[in-house]
Symmetry: C2
Subunit: 331 residues, 2 copies
């Protein structure tokens, strides 16, 4: 079936503020390494004061993913909420400059600003995020562009949006539109804390509406309340038609029906900042899937995209993923 967009994604529209820190800083600030914490404005102000000097970059998990899809030469659309402010302008520019269709109207009233994620990166390259959602959490089902979803091979949903209730309705609407149009729905679990907060709701959503779930190993184990990977793998296989599970430097495993493919991680010279690694894995995988590649190749494209973004600060590719993929013979 023909489509205008390989991927339409719905997510929290966020600008990242990325700064290096030591592990002791995370302890002092009460932050759990490698996770995402939701924080309010007062806490954001306080944490920012304590952070080192940094860099800013457009982020947001699903935003990073569609930027990656576009960098691979795919077509993508994005739905997310920014404010009519400077950071909203930056976020909007960066998606459109990649060729991503992004027309969700910004919120121009009210006191909330564009969402910011304060990302502290430890010397091992791990990122720990503290997100002040601002207007990103005000996304509603009315922001879901029906025509865009109908015209996208895959609709990709960011698990972080399970937190704000109106956004959850947007998920339901988008998934229903996609399924009615004969399209596929993918979702990422996003974060172990998200899984802990919304386990039952996520399980219901996966069973009812998802064709494909992305998760890292910890998120998958948390979802099924087990420490045993095989047990979690078996559970996810019976819940959704397809799952792609990332295992950091051990690569990823893809499940479809009774079959599975284990694909190694791409070699990385130096891990600088893992922000966006999972998002770029999803980008490569979704691009491959929309283009009818084998699941093995989908996972390889994901590994390639993730490797690029780990090598520098910032959650989106700084070079053309299409050229990288061509250089390795993947496209």
């Amino acid at each position: 079936m023909a489509h205008s967009y390989d991927v339409a994604a719905i997510g929290n529209a966020i600008v990242d503020v990325i700064a290096p820190c030591e592990d002791a800083f995370l302890d002092a600030q009460g932050l759990t390494k490698g996770t995402m914490h939701l924080i309010d404005g007062a806490r954001a102000h306080q944490l920012y004061e304590a952070m080192a000097a940094g860099l800013e970059a457009s982020g947001g998990s699903a935003g990073n993913t569609v930027a990656g899809v576009a960098s691979l030469g795919g077509t993508a659309a994005y739905i997310g909420k920014v404010a009519a402010d400077q950071l909203g302008e930056v976020f909007t520019h960066d998606l459109r400059a990649q060729g991503v269709h992004f027309e969700t109207p910004p919120l121009s009233e009210g006191r909330e600003a564009t969402a910011r994620s304060l990302i502290n990166v430890t010397p091992d390259g791990q990122r720990t995020m503290s997100t002040h959602l601002g207007v990103a959490g005000l996304l509603t089902k009315d922001d879901v562009d029906e025509a865009v979803i109908q015209d996208s091979a895959l609709t990709y949903l960011e698990g972080y949006l399970f937190d704000p209730p109106p956004a959850r309705e947007a998920f339901d609407r988008a998934a229903d539109i996609a399924r009615a149009a004969g399209r596929k729905v993918a979702i990422t679990l996003s974060d172990v804390f998200v899984v802990e907060r919304w386990r039952n709701d996520l399980l219901d959503f996966l069973a009812a509406k998802a064709h494909l779930v992305f998760a890292n190993e910890n998120e998958l184990k948390a979802l099924f309340e087990t420490d045993d990977f095989e047990e979690a793998a078996s559970a996810v296989r019976s819940l959704v038609p397809m799952a792609a599970v990332t295992r950091s430097e051990h690569g990823s495993v893809v499940f479809e029906g009774g079959k599975e493919w284990a694909v190694p991680a791409f070699p990385v010279e130096q891990v600088i900042d893992t922000t966006g690694a999972g998002d770029q894995y999803a980008a490569g995988f979704l691009f491959g899937l929309a283009r009818g590649r084998t699941l093995d190749d989908c996972a390889r494209l994901g590994a390639l995209a993730a490797a690029e973004v780990i090598g520098h600060y910032g959650p989106r590719p700084l070079v053309s993923l299409r050229e990288l993929a061509a250089a390795t013979g993947l496209v």
Copy 2:
């Protein structure tokens, strides 16, 4: 003479928007590679629309320099104008997080925003800047904190501020305060276009008030309207007590009275983005000078700091320059 700050700097308080581009993009946009163009709000909007997705980082030439001084373990103060907006917040945070004293009150009224420099980086790592000055150009002599200047071993002035007239008055006032307190005044020529626009004024200022001038080879030649480096060198020696001239990959030459020192550039693995290279050279040099190091060592510290910043996107050090300098035996 004891001092609280090694360096007090006055400059355009700017947030950089950095994106990769091809050389053809510069041609299409009518931009001269390696220089700084002043642009108005409408042109900034138009150019930003045309640019690739990028990263944002606090910048401004003198702001980068004091950040470098602080990274080397020095003490520094900054005077510059931001607006009370999101980018102003980012700029302020990044200086204070480095330990730089920065108390110039932000402008909270009016329609102008914090200055933005749209920086297009070609594959050779060269940066071409298009700056919308916004409130940065509204700095006045009233913003010069007399006590801070009196208490700084060196006052460092950014040549870019020769453009807005009220800022020129701030330069004069700061230089006069510094000299009256028995301190030294340093200035950078900043850009060949700045030199072309203000040649006579710059020559007057250098002769009357500067102890030390920073320039790259092209700026120095432009100042003395010659293509001959030796001729320019001879002219600058008779104008100011001390000059530090950078020559890209050929290192730098320092002149003091009848003496000169040529110091090689530090090896750089891969040139990614030269934004801030001159600023970090000045940081290393000024830090060394304030700490009573030989001019040879000052130039080496400058070369070391410049090499760090060339290796990544963004105009300020991403690692501790103090540790780098210690590792090479320079401190």
